[in-house]
Every structure is written in structure tokens, then in C-alpha cells.
Symmetry: C2
Subunit: 412 residues, 2 copies
């Protein structure tokens, strides 16, 4: 990313990081695995010893979205939001692994770290039962994940509220690995919406996923939370960057969107408050990805990017010898527009921190784009050809609502 961008970022001042420069430096010397351009590290078949197979093990979690759930739970007493956090933690692993071509079955382990003075047993139960319920739900969509249990640690000296992490393992044929080195000039970029209501969701998704939540929470929420819940803030961050917005978690969503963005009320959003919508569990693309792999095969899927940390610039970790043009993005979902207006964040940073409308993008030959779009529609996921790969030295151009934005490749 650009140094100017990093230097001035509110995101960075809050101690979050969309680019993780020092993390990338710390892991620079480590071995990259069998398929260096796959979305996850691919190891030889350590667990089976078969030269035609490989293993993946992957860790991620709900991040600071748990601080948002904590606020909502404290304000309302609702423990269901913790079940959503459990889903977030699973999906952040599942979708990364799917982007590497893994279709399961998967092994899952959970790691919960809590401050016992603030997080009681019924929150743990919601997190643990929420995971179990979600795995049952995934199985109905053909995504098989087995839980091997996990660890719950009481770490009050380290953790202010709760950290919800997961780790997932997969074993698969090497021939099934989806590697982004195949991304080529001429490819279409198909984007699949992160928001709305898809065929396997029960409530409309705000699209936020589990990335950019530190910024989003502080930019949107009213400063009254600053006094009420200091345990959700880093004491090292300047107070004026904490809860610097004007919104309340318990306001009716239709009312809020009408006032802030002039949106007409919808029936889907009826009865929802802003907090529940903001906390929408991260949409999984696993059923869609499995269908795409089964229908098209991994060799025709030139690339698959989970637009998580790094948002719309994520692909730049994988492409250095062609340019990516994204000039037909899906409409910006209302939540991101709210964040932008409340915070005054520049479009350039918005696309670097948030997914801005699609959290999955697939790179494939232009003539196959329609097949991919049909699968998106099959699952009720808004989708479109949002861009293309063109000849060039490496770089990303995004056509935003107010003009072009340019980002460099992350590859040296």
C-alpha cells in the first residue's frame, strides 16, 4: 500500500491494520508451501503421507467484532449475537480455505480467551452452542465441518472482554488446489455480494463480514458508549478516535437508514435494530464455491479471492504481472456509505479497509463469466462482472463513485 495511505490512516491510529506491514516482514523468511499463490499455505500430506494429497491448516477469528457484540449484549441482554460471533469465527477460516480449492470435510477447533469478570458462562454457552448449531446448518448446504472441541482460557490480565478464534484443517488432492498464479490477462472478475439476503440466510446481511470492525465500530457509534464501556477501547488510542459517530445500536434500522441516507423502509429490515444488522454474521460463500468448483473445475477458475483484510485490494498480494481494473463494482451497501459519511474517510481508504459490496471475487476466462453468474443467482447472491485483468506492470484501478482510485501491487 502507499506510505501516504498508511501514515494518515485512522484505521492505523486505532491500532488496527489493513496492511499488516510488520507482520509481513516478520513472516518474510518462512517457507511458502507447495502452491505459493494459493489463498492459504498448502503443505505436503503430513497427515496421510500420500504424494498426491496435501494438507491445509488455517487460523482466524471474529476479531474486534466481539467488542461490538459485547456492547450490544450489555445494552440489550441478547445473547444470540454471540452465536453470530461464533459463525464469524468459523466463516473467516472456511471461506479462506474454500478459496484455495478445499471443499471439505473440514476439522475445526475453537479458541476462546475471556475476561471472566466480564464474560459469564452463558456467553460461553452461546459461543459454543452457536458453533455447534452453525455446523449443523452448514451440513444442510453440503459443507461438512467436524468440531474437535477447543480451548477456553481465562485471561483477565491479557483480555478486556473476549477473543473468539478458530482453526480449521483440510486434506485434499493436490490436483484440487486452486492457485491464483493462473490469473491471466483477459480474465473477467466476477464479484459476489457480501450483503442482502441470500438463499441460505434468514435475515438481511449488512455485508460487513469480520474485517474493518475496529474502524466501523468507532466511526459509527455514539460517544455515549465511550463512558459506558471503556473495556471495549484501547486506552492507548486518543479518546476522540473512540466512538466518534452518532448512531445507537438499539435504533430501528429502517428509521435510521431513512434519516441518514434517505432510504425507503423495506419489509426485510422491519423489526431489525441497527445493532443486529451491524452484527450480521459474515456470509459464507462455501456452498457457492463448491458449486463453482464442481461445475467448472479448478483449472478454469484462475483465481479466487476472499476480500477480507485489505478489502478490495486483497488481490494485490497475488498478482504482480498484470493490471486489475474494477470498473463495474456492485452498488456500495448502505452500511459502508454510513461509515464513509459518519467518518469522512476517503474512498481510497474505504476500499482498502472494507469489502465495499463483495467479499468474494472469482477470476476466470470471460466466456465462463455467465456460468459463474448463474451460480450466484442460484444462491440468491447479487453478482456481476465487476472488472477484468489487463496487460500492465501490476497494479489495481478501482472506479469508485467519485472517480478512479489507484493501488500498487503488494508483491515486491
Amino acid at each position: 500500500m502507499s506510505e501516504a495511505g498508511e501514515g494518515t490512516s485512522r484505521y492505523l491510529a486505532r491500532g488496527a491494520s489493513a496492511t499488516k506491514d510488520d507482520v509481513h516482514r516478520a513472516i518474510a523468511g518462512l517457507e511458502k508451501g507447495l502452491f505459493p499463490s494459493a489463498f492459504c499455505k498448502v503443505l505436503p500430506d503430513v497427515l496421510g503421507g500420500d504424494p498426491d494429497f496435501c494438507n491445509l491448516i488455517h487460523a482466524d477469528g471474529a476479531g474486534t467484532k466481539s467488542a461490538l457484540a459485547y456492547l450490544y449484549w450489555k445494552e440489550t441482554g441478547n445473547t444470540d449475537v454471540w452465536k453470530g460471533i461464533a459463525r464469524d469465527s468459523v466463516v473467516m477460516n472456511l471461506d479462506d480455505l474454500c478459496c484455495a480449492g478445499a471443499t471439505g470435510p473440514f476439522l475445526l477447533s475453537s479458541t476462546l480467551g475471556r475476561n471472566k469478570h466480564r464474560i459469564p458462562g452463558d456467553v460461553l454457552s452461546a459461543l459454543i452452542q452457536g458453533t455447534a448449531e452453525y455446523l449443523e446448518e452448514l451440513e444442510r448446504w453440503g459443507v461438512v465441518v467436524h468440531s474437535g472441541g477447543g480451548e477456553t482460557a481465562d485471561l483477565g490480565d491479557l483480555i478486556q472482554t473476549v477473543v473468539v478464534d478458530s482453526t480449521m484443517t483440510a486434506r485434499m488432492p493436490r490436483s484440487g488446489v486452486l492457485s491464483n498464479h493462473r490469473i491471466a490477462v483477459g480474465d473477467a472478475v466476477v464479484g459476489f455480494a457480501s450483503h442482502g439476503l441470500c438463499s441460505y440466510e434468514a435475515v438481511p446481511n449488512s455485508g460487513i463480514g469480520s474485517n474493518g470492525l475496529t474502524s466501523a465500530r468507532h466511526d459509527l457509534l455514539d460517544q455515549r458508549y465511550r463512558e459506558l464501556y471503556p473495556e471495549t477501547m484501547d486506552p492507548r488510542v486518543p479518546k476522540d478516535l473512540c466512538y466518534s459517530g452518532q448512531l445507537l445500536l438499539t435504533e430501528d434500522l429502517n428509521t435510521l437508514l431513512a434519516r441518514e441516507l434517505g432510504l425507503a423502509p423495506t419489509q426485510e429490515r422491519e423489526g431489525l435494530d441497527f445493532g443486529r444488522w451491524f452484527l450480521s454474521p459474515t456470509r459464507t460463500y462455501a456452498p457457492l464455491i463448491q458449486a463453482l468448483i464442481q461445475d467448472l473445475g479448478v483449472s478454469r477458475l484462475h483465481g479466487m479471492i476472499h476480500c477480507s483484510g485489505g478489502g478490495q485490494t486483497k488481490v494485490m498480494h497475488f498478482v504482480g504481472n498484470a493490471n486489475i481494473i474494477k470498473d463495474n463494482l456492485l452498488p456500495v451497501p448502505p452500511l459502508f456509505e454510513l461509515i464513509r459519511r459518519q467518518s469522512g474517510t476517503a474512498w481510497e481508504e474505504m476500499y482498502r479497509v472494507f469489502n465495499m459490496g463483495h467479499r468474494l471475487e472469482v477470476y476466470l476466462p470471460m466466456e465462463l463469466a455467465e456460468t459463474a453468474l448463474q451460480w450466484g443467482r442460484h444462491f440468491g447472491i447479487q453478482c456481476d462482472v465487476i472488472g477484468r485483468v489487463v496487460d500492465g506492470p501490476g497494479g489495481l484501478q478501482i472506479k469508485g463513485p467519485e472517480g478512479w482510485l489507484t493501488y500498487p501491487t503488494h508483491l515486491a
Copy 2:
């Protein structure tokens, strides 16, 4: 555990927990796996589909030992202690899995959560490189662990300093699973020391491992750290329970042990300060366990307990229909005697929180005990027949330095 014990515990008041009662309640309804008495949950072969094989996935971490490393690093600038924390996090998984009979190869993933304002890139590098170096070292002892990488998350709103967790996966024949249901009346209990200097360690080990570190840190360390490093304390814990001891991390170890316990200086400890010794990386028993399994076979190893959280009472999660007598424990290592004296903790609680001298105990027929002891000596690990299994309704009796202590079974 006894309600009286829990109610009065300093450990509990600090928000740590040796018994995790509410965690056990939260997971009570979950499926227990193929071998409910194995030390870790054992799943069918999700990854290979072979009915003769099984899978294990396990999560744990260095816990609040990272807060101790933080103190030492801030006081001295020494980043090597972070390499020790990386080892702790690995061993807390490795030794649990070995106790279930797994001998590798293993897959490892790391999960680091940090406050970026306090934990810079060179600490991350030490943690990540420390893991890589440790895996190389383990391989020289025949223990094969492959790293699949991991996640580093900047979670300043959740985490005061740093949380260092790991997850490990194994696949093995079902016939190789070591299940504690075999523990039987007449068995010997062989304990293997957690402290001293074994053949695969470079510096003498204090024996603390990675459990009980919240209590140990606060009970031992001088209150000056209270003012200097509030970021290592839970603000909800009463101040007088934080850093309520009198010791300094940078004092010469021989000098300190001579003054506090009247111990003669040893050459092994020369040049070591108290902090480095307190931070001794958790000893792994993996090479020893592999030798025992190879020599004796799992069916003759009736039980294997990693005395981690719950200390010497850990076995009570696995035995409900016989009594355990531990009447010949290894001598109490100096670190635990220091903790007891500085804190005034009762012996009953000391044995429930700390390993008190051995972190591995093996249950096997009395006539095989000498073989197990020979393997301990082979690796330079002090060991002895520390007890036996006798007829009874379930319960544990420990002969401590000041008399008998009695603990109930944890099984309902």
C-alpha cells in the same frame, strides 16, 4: 473441586481458573468423541475416511505467561523470552496430544493477537522465528511438527499486550489411541519431573510450565510492577491481589534462592536471573512419551496425564471408580516453595493450581514401572513411582509435606 476451595481461592479472585466449572457446564452437552477417556477428543478419520484411523485437533496457548514475558522484556529489552513463549504455546498442545497416544507427524498453526501499540514487529518476529526454531529442535528428537503458518491479528480494543495460541492436528491409527479408561486398581503412578535440566534442555527448568502463571506472577513479583505495567493487570482485580510479592525479575537467581530458601548456589543456575528461570519454557515430554509408547505399547500404558490446568488433581477428570493415592511425590521444586511462602497459599490449593514437581504422570501395571523409570533416566528426567491406584469409590489423596490432602473426583 470442593466449593470451599473455589470460594476462597485467590486464583479465582484474580479471574483465572484451575477448575473451569462454567466452561465444563458450557460444553456439557457436546459430543465426547470416539474415546471419551482419552486425554484429547478423538474424531473419526474426517480427513482420510479410513475406519481404522482417527483425527485429533487441539488448541491451547501460553496463557498469561505472555504477561510475564512482557514484564521481563520491558525491564531488560531481551526478546529471547518471546521465543520461550512460542515454545510454551507449542508444548501445551504437543504434550496433550502425546498423552492421547499421538506420536506425529503433527500439523501446527499459530494464532497471535496483539495490541499493536505495545507489541512491535520485533516481538512478532521473535514469536514466529521462535516457533520455527523450536520445530527444528523437536525434529532432532524425533518429534515431527510441520507449521502451516498462522494468523496475527491487531486487536488493541480486546488485548492489552499479546495472546499466543496454537492449534495442532494429528491423524493416527485408532489402535494407537491411549485411553485413560484402562487405569485400574493395582496400577503404579510414575511421575516425571517438570524441573531440573533434562538431556534435551539447555538451561535448568523451574518447572512452572504454562499453568498457574496468573497466581504465580502476582504472588511472587514486587508491587513496583503494579505502577510500572498496569497493562499486565486486569483492572477488575483488587489492587492488593496484583503483584503482592517481593521479588524482582532481574535479581541473580542463586542470590535470591539463598536468601529466600537457604539454598546453596549451583553452577547450573550461575548467570541466570530470576526472571529467565521463572520464564523457563514448558518442558515437553514428547520424546519420552514416544519412547514409552514404542517400548511398552499403548495397551500396557493404562493412563497418561498431562498435569496442566488443575495441577495434581487433573487425573480426577478421568477416574471415578478407583482411588488414587500419591504418597511419594518428587520433592517440591524451589519455585513452588517460593510461591507458597510469598503468598501463604494452602498446600491444598497449591496442588490444585500447580504441577508441584511433575507435569507428566503415567499409569501402568506395577511390574512395568521400572521400565518407565529407565526411560525417564535415559532422558535425564527425575522420576519415581509417586503413587498407586487402589480400590475405592473415586477420589485422590496426596501426601504433602505437612500431611494428607483429599480431593474428590471431577466425574459426576
